[in-house]
């Protein structure tokens, strides 16, 4: 008990310190910028690959099983192992971190997009066909818009988990805010530094999530009345 009290009263190692944030604003902001750009690039690249892949799985039913199974197996591979597989080839740098997080984000988006596309009612599809839409017209004008809620759920999940995953990049020294957290740990367990990095990570995830939620509401006005 006395140990805990003395621990808590320790003035040299507070849980949070504005002093630390002020004195190190350059480093912290640079890490935050690094983290944000890495996340946004990763999600963007992942979406550009995942949505066509999901459409492929939707159009050619026999491909659905293999694509989902492959993504499932890849998702089982631990992130650190994925770093270990990719780093010997791409070296120590942004390319490695980006590949790993893109691979993970890819799986989440593919799954949710396929689910979204499969939710399109058969009658709607038949009606579109009856109105003379071809395969592409139907996809762009009917099916993808109706699958938007699923796609956006995938994007949000992918974004939030990517923010968390980027921190694992510390293994090759490119972990964004993870560098701040890890440096705090090595810095004799400097709590203020660790907490600053962690809080910024969670905040970044929250902000990006809310942003995507807002975008989703703007893009799907027909759902607004129903949700409220």
């Amino acid at each position: 008990m006395s140990f805990r009290l003395s621990y808590r009263a320790d003035p040299g190692n507070p849980w949070f310190s504005w002093q630390y944030v002020r004195d190190n604003s350059d480093t912290v902001l640079a890490a935050l910028r690094d983290h944000t750009t890495l996340t946004l690039r990763a999600v963007l690249i992942a979406a550009l690959i995942a949505v066509p892949l999901a459409v492929l799985a939707y159009w050619f039913r026999p491909l659905t099983g293999p694509i989902l199974a492959l993504t499932g197996v890849l998702y089982t591979v631990p992130s650190l192992a994925l770093f270990a597989f990719i780093a010997p080839y791409l070296g120590i740098g942004v390319a490695t971190v980006l590949s790993v997080v893109v691979l993970y984000a890819l799986l989440v988006i593919v799954r949710n997009t396929v689910a979204g596309l499969n939710q399109v009612p058969a009658e709607v599809r038949e009606a579109a066909e009856g109105m003379g839409y071809g395969r592409w017209g139907r996809l762009l004008r009917v099916e993808l818009p109706l699958a938007l809620p699923g796609i956006l759920t995938g994007l949000r999940l992918a974004t939030v988990s990517t923010v968390a995953l980027v921190t694992v990049g510390v293994v090759i020294g490119r972990g964004g805010l993870g560098q701040i957290i890890f440096a705090g740990f090595q810095n004799n367990l400097y709590k203020a530094q660790i907490m600053t990095g962690t809080l910024l990570c969670v905040l970044l995830a929250l902000v990006l999530d809310l942003f995507l939620l807002g975008v989703g509401r703007l893009l799907t006005p027909w759902l607004r009345g129903r949700a409220g």
Partner: protein, 240 residues
């Protein structure tokens, strides 16, 4: 020599397996750490999930818990817990890993009880069963496949996350990868790749083992109905 050949050479050196701090030591640490974490997670999540599912309350709480843990970086939790009263060392790592085991266990326990046909529940009540009897004799047996699926997801998740324990000097197979990176890629490339193979192999092995267990404990009539829709619902809740 390319990294794959280097990895094969590294894995073929018996000393790398049997040395103190070699593969066998690290594997033991990894498995014991993960097992303790999953057990701790079960002790917390199952009673809570079963109770919430039985009473039908707290669906929002279950979603909130899984969303919250998704956004907290593993690394942050691993570094923060040693700063609390848990102190620096194995207990803090196990608790951190258990936190990541809770969402799939909780969500599946909850879903498992909620998916029980209300008519079945009513029939049990009509037969004069008390709340506890309904839970123990009707709801729980019907929820076993979901509990097993949650256990599998949690075990795989924990084994994967335990690889990161190396950042807080917590041991486990992740150490092999981090030591490799410490040597630089040119020298340690083989060791890095070998470590990655071991970690990924362990995770896939655990997945296969518990997928088999899941099949074993699922009563035959429930197998066909569950394999498609139920599994997908459970996956959607855990966000994978």
């Amino acid at each position: 020599m390319n990294p794959v050949q280097q990895a094969v050479v590294w894995l073929n050196d018996p000393l790398n397996w049997t040395n103190p701090g070699g593969i066998l030591d690290r594997l033991g640490e990894h498995v014991s750490m993960s097992a303790a974490a999953v057990l701790l997670g079960c002790l917390v999540a199952w009673p809570l999930g079963l109770w919430l599912g039985h009473t039908g309350r707290g669906g929002g709480l279950v979603v909130l818990v899984s969303n919250l843990t998704l956004s907290v970086p593993t690394l942050a939790l691993l570094t923060i817990l040693p700063l609390t009263f848990l102190g620096f060392g194995r207990p803090a790592v196990v608790v951190a890993l258990a936190v990541f085991a809770v969402p799939p266990l909780l969500a599946n326990a909850y879903t498992g009880l909620r998916q029980v046909d209300p008519q079945t529940r009513e029939a049990a009540r009509g037969m004069g069963m008390t709340g506890v009897q309904v839970l123990g004799r009707v709801e729980l047996p019907l929820a076993v496949p979901y509990l097993a699926a949650g256990f599998r997801t949690a075990a795989v998740q924990v084994v994967a996350t335990a690889a990161l324990a190396t950042f807080v000097n917590g041991g486990g197979l992740g150490e092999i990868i981090r030591f490799g990176f410490g040597l630089s890629i040119a020298v340690g490339g083989g060791q890095i790749l070998a470590g990655g193979l071991l970690v990924a192999g362990l995770a896939l092995g655990v997945e296969l083992l518990f997928a088999f267990v899941e099949r074993l404990v699922t009563p035959r009539p429930l197998r066909r109905a569950r394999s498609g829709a139920g599994r997908r619902a459970a996956d959607a809740v855990t966000g994978s």
